[in-house]
Amino acid sequence: MHISPDQVIYWQHGFFKLNATIVLTWGLILVMAVGSILISRKISKGNKRSRWQNLLEIVVTGIEKQIEEVGLSHPRKYLAFLGTLFLFIFVANLCTVIPGYEPPTSSLSTTAALALLVFLAVPFFGILEQGFGSYLKSYAEPTFIMLPFNIISELTRTLALAVRLFGNMMSGAMIVAILLTITPFIFPIIMTLLGLLTGTVQSYIFSVLAAVYIAAATRSHEPGLQPE
């Protein structure tokens, strides 16, 4: 039993190897991108639209409303990044129903890459919104002594994002694998259902936490604002 799909290698040539994580991620990207392109080829702006376009519109407006509720005032600017994050992790976790599939988010490489994206996106949006000097000055708030603690908290937040998603998905897969050797009849199905639920919740949590970090970085610190 392997701990992550990183260890299932399909092809190797020196340093480059194609393991199950990479192949599954490519498959997911292909399915989602080709599906969206096919659906959005004939977009109708009127009141009559196809059901697939309706589905995508529900998804996009739902994500936009959630981003606004988290505290970001112009959700359109962040919709691309946060929406892609949520949809990728959501679809990757939900496809566990397909037999023989292991979610690529159950490998630390994928979750570390996603957490790195958030780590880079937070200063990017912060500088875009507040300007370089003002964003860097926000690290020294409320006093200058907090500077190392703020930096450490940035790094540990990123690490926590990666390990949280990895741990949840890996534990789901491992529980099912262990149970298949002990009580192979009904119980693994129940644990797979629980794994689907935690996968959905974890995808929502990942993107909501990314939105909260971006909101904290882009919040303008003007003097005279009422304390929240």
Partner: protein, 88 residues
């Protein structure tokens, strides 16, 4: 006791103890979080979507502590570098 035995015993015992104590704290914390969110839902049912969303985010943060303990146990059992060193 040679090195292999020491590493094996330490890994197995630590994996068990890590999971044992690692899930104790988060379970208590999550219980308290859900109980206070239930009482606030009973007091203000109109704010239920905000309360529910905040509850889930808070539960995920608490759960991640249990996940840290679980990941350490899994590493000790399945991907133990010390074990790979003493048998390889």
């Amino acid at each position: 006791m040679d090195n292999t035995t020491i590493v094996a015993v330490a890994s197995i015992v630590t994996a068990g103890v890590t999971t044992c104590f690692g899930v104790l704290g988060p379970a208590l914390g999550e219980g308290r979080a859900v109980s206070t969110s239930l009482s606030s839902l009973a007091q203000q049912p109109d704010a239920s979507s905000t309360i529910t969303r905040t509850l889930f985010v808070g539960l995920a943060m608490i759960e991640s502590c249990a996940i840290y303990a679980f990941v350490v146990s899994m590493i000790l059992i399945f991907a133990n570098p010390f074990w790979n060193h003493v048998i390889g």
